[in-house]
Symmetry: C2
Subunit: 341 residues, 2 copies
Amino acid sequence: MTRFASFADLRAACLDLPSGDEEAAARVALREGSLTKPPRSLGRLEETVAWLARWQGKSPPRLEAVEILVFAGNHGVTAQGVSAYPAEVTAQMVANFAAGGAAINQLARVAEAELRVIALDLDGPTADFTVEPAMEEAEFLEAVAAGHDALSRQADLVVLGEMGIGNTTSAAAIAAALFGGGGARFAGHGTGVDEAGLKRKQAAIDAGLKRHEAALNDPPRIAAALGGRELAAILGACLAARRARIPVLIDGFVSTAAVAPLKKLRADALDHALSGHMSAEAGHRLLLQELGLKPLLDLGMRLGEGSGAAVAVLVLRAALACHTGMATFAEAHVSDKMRNR
Amino acid sequence: MTRFASFADLRAACLDLPSGDEEAAARVALREGSLTKPPRSLGRLEETVAWLARWQGKSPPRLEAVEILVFAGNHGVTAQGVSAYPAEVTAQMVANFAAGGAAINQLARVAEAELRVIALDLDGPTADFTVEPAMEEAEFLEAVAAGHDALSRQADLVVLGEMGIGNTTSAAAIAAALFGGGGARFAGHGTGVDEAGLKRKQAAIDAGLKRHEAALNDPPRIAAALGGRELAAILGACLAARRARIPVLIDGFVSTAAVAPLKKLRADALDHALSGHMSAEAGHRLLLQELGLKPLLDLGMRLGEGSGAAVAVLVLRAALACHTGMATFAEAHVSDKMRNR
């Protein structure tokens, strides 16, 4: 079992990170240049294969064991009327995941990925962050460790997703705490709150930012004060993946906000992570810009559960199939001489 | 065998088109609303399932028989030094398709689609359009008919792609003829011409537009004078798909330019077609805007062969899996009551 003894201990772990394997990435690029297509004409497909190789330290990379981890948690801030759905829906959806009836179950099957759902104390929601920290230090570190331990060390790729009624409010609060702008900048309609609900959401975020002003200079404290157990677990899993050099596909707004504190601690801390998609949730575009992440897909999805990143797994499978299966110019007797005039 | 006797005959066929099945699309939307997710939270995934149902006339739609048709042709305009590769590469790549070594072979396998390659008189390139019409009326209509006949009437979805050294020049010329702006507006680097090559390409397009000025008020004549056999065949296949109510995924710049004359003839002629992706080829974004098409993917690909649209097939498979496989709120005992305050 992973143990982080304190915020300081977690910070230290987040600063001590391995680099990518540039040689593996270079071997991928070399082979790409020899394949029967104009140079770089597969665009991001080529880039993603090099990225997989860099973080797996393997050329060619593999996508045999793809794991989707969905963390679920409940949020005291729902007391502020910030969500379109009642908090019971979190547990109901976890049951739906177990029964195979949710979107992510279908997408995991299509993506040939293993889905694992980790429910984090759904009967004990975090505290309402407008009143007190969502989690005390020990509680937060326990959720981080749960995420850290959930990762299989044998995965070739991990997708990080979440479920938690109220968690776009936590995500927007973390984003605003890290990058400024307050509730108005990052709050969106989430699962579908009306205009009055959106106003309550913005007000709750602004109240939380004010309440926890003293914590806002420290990314782990921000994640504890304003976040949620599932967000903390995603942070832990993303950190564990980096330590094990496993590439990560991040899902939408909530997952992106969950890992954002890592980037604030260390500029290259998310280099092993790719943004799977741009969510339709209002704050996601801004947050991705702040993090310098360029999403693979933009399909107007806003479901969470890892769903957008699961679709992006298909793009990676297509990219890898081209990389490993295509003939070289020499093998196919195709002229790779550019015309000289 | 399909026969179009004249430009006028083809025009008449392009104007006599079936509509979509709005009832099937509505049944899809009704089911989507009952599934365990916030309304419309799967974004374009939900839209594409409704679109498949509308054009297949089936709810739920099917993706059992997915067909990728790649048409290949050679272009006399290569004499103007418009391409980075010599014209022999068209036939070499057709051999590569047959041997299974090209990108589209790998992508077809991942997309579980049947790939069929139709080479159109590669030893007889079209005429150099800067000097004379690329194709005479009968030659053009024969290529349209070849495309029309290539389509299996049993397909659930067809992807239209192409291979032809020099064909981004034809595509840019068609786009400029239909939408204005000359060679400077739609010409790009294609497979990788340098700046001098790009200048030659723009000049060739402008010379072609001037040379065939008298034909520019008639979309089929534009396609004959400035196009190529593979572009004409794509137009024919797209028309055949509409008549058979088979949904079409259009690939990149060349494929989009190939079907653009249909839209100019009749505003709703491409409603059964979805743009699979936005190519990195410079003119594609502009052309999609002119046509009012919103691509599913934007991955910086610029290979042709149907490759971008083949990746988009994966998105459709993901969308359909959610639609058919998810539980409803009632089945999963999940509360679909929005919170009332």
